[in-house]
């Protein structure tokens, strides 16, 4: 196993460099963006307060005092980490609306720029950079879209895509494109071959955790926020997200070990993942009775082990959730090894 494992992993890292590279950059950027958005959101609230104070004629005394107090008062709500944005996005959205609603007061005397205002200014610069100078900054819809889609959807989707892609690539894709012969006609055991794929995928997932945390911590150097979470607090939801991808990888790998073409395990795994997501949504409708059949798909879904917010705040369920997801991964890998070691490898189909 050992002499062939490193070259196989090396080749796979080269082969996946663009996919993994872009995924890591995206996760890093999104993590950074979550800090930026938090900083912006906090800054906007501060601005509204300042404007209200200005309207009441209290600005000269209150603004510096409030800014000073703010630094001493940690917020109860977690401020960063993108997977839990559903709860965080709302204040940001409300803040936008409030800011828009109060956009035309009588112009007060210009106060000294607070940290929060500076962050807001930076955030506007970033948005204009992303959307161009003509971007409509008053649009709540754009902000809502960016907050929900970028900070909630993609960080989950990227590990899932990575897991499905690497799982289907391991056996079915190599048979389909005919490169399996080139490798397995050498003294490489089938188990080593599969383990190289597993290790490469796990390395990718580990890097995703690192980049998710790094994006947040690096961004904090540029955008000040009220509460800076610890690396441990950031790691917990990141591990939960990545464990989802790992479980999906295990399932896809097992299907790939049976197949001859890549599209089939890709399609089945994708449908299965979407179905579980839908099942989870159906099973967790508010107001549903506990004994309702609606609850069943929710309980069966692997998304029922996905609690990044809880992971961030407490982490009490994280161990169990990660254990369940890891078990799915291990079962998938073992099934794939058993099947792959006993199957025929036909010439490329």
């Amino acid at each position: 196993m050992n002499k062939s494992l490193f070259p196989l992993i090396n080749r796979l890292m080269v082969e996946t460099r663009f996919f993994l590279g872009f995924s890591l950059i995206a996760l890093f950027g999104l993590s950074w963006f979550s800090v930026l958005r938090t900083s912006w959101s906090e800054g906007r609230q501060e601005t509204v307060a300042i404007r209200e104070q200005a309207q009441r004629g209290e600005l000269a005394k209150a603004a510096p005092k409030k800014a000073a107090e703010k630094k001493d008062e940690p917020k109860a709500e977690p401020a960063k980490d993108e997977p839990k944005s559903e709860t965080k996005a709302e204040p940001a959205k409300d803040a936008t609306k409030t800011a828009d609603a109060t956009a035309t007061p009588a112009a007060p005397a210009r106060p000294p720029e607070t940290d929060a205002q500076r962050n807001q200014r930076r955030a506007r610069g970033f948005y204009q950079f992303m959307g161009g100078p003509d971007m409509d900054m008053s649009s709540g819809a754009i902000e809502t879209m960016m907050l929900y889609f970028l900070t909630v959807g993609i960080p989950i989707m990227i590990p899932l895509f990575w897991g499905i892609s690497r799982g289907s690539a391991a056996v079915a894709a190599e048979i389909e494109r005919g490169t399996m012969d080139m490798i397995l006609s050498r003294p490489v055991s089938r188990t080593s071959y599969l383990m190289a794929h597993v290790i490469t995928t796990v390395i990718g997932f580990a890097l995703m955790i690192v980049f998710l945390i790094a994006g947040n911590k690096v961004a904090e150097q540029f955008h000040s926020v009220d509460m800076s979470p610890s690396i441990k607090a950031l790691a917990r939801p990141a591990i939960n997200v990545v464990a989802m991808g790992l479980a999906t990888f295990g399932i896809t790998l097992a299907m790939s070990a049976w197949d001859l073409v890549r599209w089939r395990p890709n399609m089945i795994a994708s449908i299965l993942t979407i179905a579980q997501l839908v099942g989870y949504a159906v099973g967790n409708q508010p107001g549903t009775e506990d004994d309702s059949w609606y609850k069943v798909p929710g309980k069966l879904s692997i998304f029922s082990t996905f609690f990044p917010i809880e992971g961030f705040v407490k982490g009490e369920k994280l161990g169990f959730n990660v254990m369940v997801l890891s078990a799915v991964f291990v079962v998938g890998v073992v099934a794939a090894i058993l099947r792959f070691n006993s199957r025929d490898l036909p010439a490329n189909s």
Binding site: K3, P7, G178, M182, P187, P346, N348
Partner: protein, 308 residues
């Protein structure tokens, strides 16, 4: 001679279809063993079974006493394989491709592979493999196969995409491998090439082994076409060693091995109007099993007649 590859009753069945049927053959150490047959005759299935890529439905295959399925890893340490349908890692350069495949053998043979690829095959190894033509890819794979420090080379249609000069180089490399004690299984469709380099040739048809020919004996054999003034005789003296290949009224085509003098003495006593003596190339032997008018049920008789 020592046998290095043995198959016994090897059968591979997919549903009702037999890709291999009761294949029993032996390959001797140090020989070049030609494997002939049309597409779908079972050559590649035989090779893939030997490599442990396919599990036989019944029967057995072994390399140096190692079971090809259960001891597949150890078998593949002794074997280098050139696939018939080449698929490579296009994103790697020629150098990196060779390096990767050599690293799977613990880095053995890399320098020799580079030497063959650059000096003999004249490849630019700095280029990405995806930029290579089909023939260049084949040359790269051949450089890899011939550089492996193994006992057995299995080449599945190694010259199919090559220009005539490169074909000559490959045949020379095969003979060189043989001179160094390597055993070569050479599967191909170009009969003249197989005939030129092989010590023995197996002919397959529809998953069955039809015939194994010793090429050294064959090169000593002669084909005799005789036209008689009357009907050709039905029987011949046993000591002449004649094997009738075709009978057509007064015309008779037969194969002869052994002393020519006794044959000429016999001819001198026969009412013969014309006679032609020559050799039969591999095409003639091949056509006995694969000409369009040969039917499966006739092959048993043909095979029996072909046995010396």
């Amino acid at each position: 001679m020592e046998t290095i590859i043995t198959t016994f009753g090897l059968t591979k069945q997919y549903g009702d279809f037999y890709a291999l049927r009761n294949l029993s053959l032996e390959v001797h150490r140090g020989e070049v063993f030609g494997l002939l047959g049309p597409n779908g005759s079972g050559k590649t299935t035989t090779i893939r079974t030997i490599l442990g890529l396919i599990k036989a439905s019944s029967g057995s295959a072994s390399v140096a006493g190692l079971d090809c399925w259960h001891d597949s890893l150890m078998v593949r340490e002794r074997v280098s394989y050139l696939p018939g349908e080449l698929r490579m890692f296009g994103y790697l350069s020629g150098y990196k491709h060779l390096k990767f495949l050599c690293d799977l053998r613990g880095g053995l043979g890399y320098d020799r592979a580079v030497h063959i690829a650059e000096k003999i095959m004249e490849l630019d190894l700095k280029r990405k493999v995806r930029q290579y033509s089909t023939g260049m890819k084949q040359k790269l794979a051949l450089a890899q196969a011939f550089s492996d420090p193994v006992e057995i080379l299995i080449l599945d249609e190694p010259t199919s995409a090559l220009d005539p000069s490169a074909r000559e180089i490959v045949l020379d490399l095969v003979l060189n491998a043989k001179s160094q004690g390597q055993t070569v299984i050479f599967s191909g469709h170009v009969l003249s090439e197989v005939e030129r380099i092989s010590d023995r040739v197996a002919i397959m048809r529809r998953g069955q082994l039809m015939h194994v020919e010793d090429m050294h004996t064959r090169r000593c054999a002669r084909m005799v076409l005789a036209r008689f003034e009357t009907d050709a005789p039905q029987e011949f003296p046993d000591d002449l060693g004649l094997i009738v290949r075709r009978r057509d009224g007064r015309e008779l085509l037969f194969e002869h091995q052994g002393e020519i003098k006794s044959l000429l003495d016999w001819f001198s006593r026969q009412p013969i109007s014309e006679i032609a003596i020559g050799t039969e190339d591999l095409r003639g032997l091949y056509d006995r099993f694969h000409s369009p008018d040969v039917r499966d049920e006739e092959l048993v008789a043909v095979v029996d007649n072909a046995k010396p």
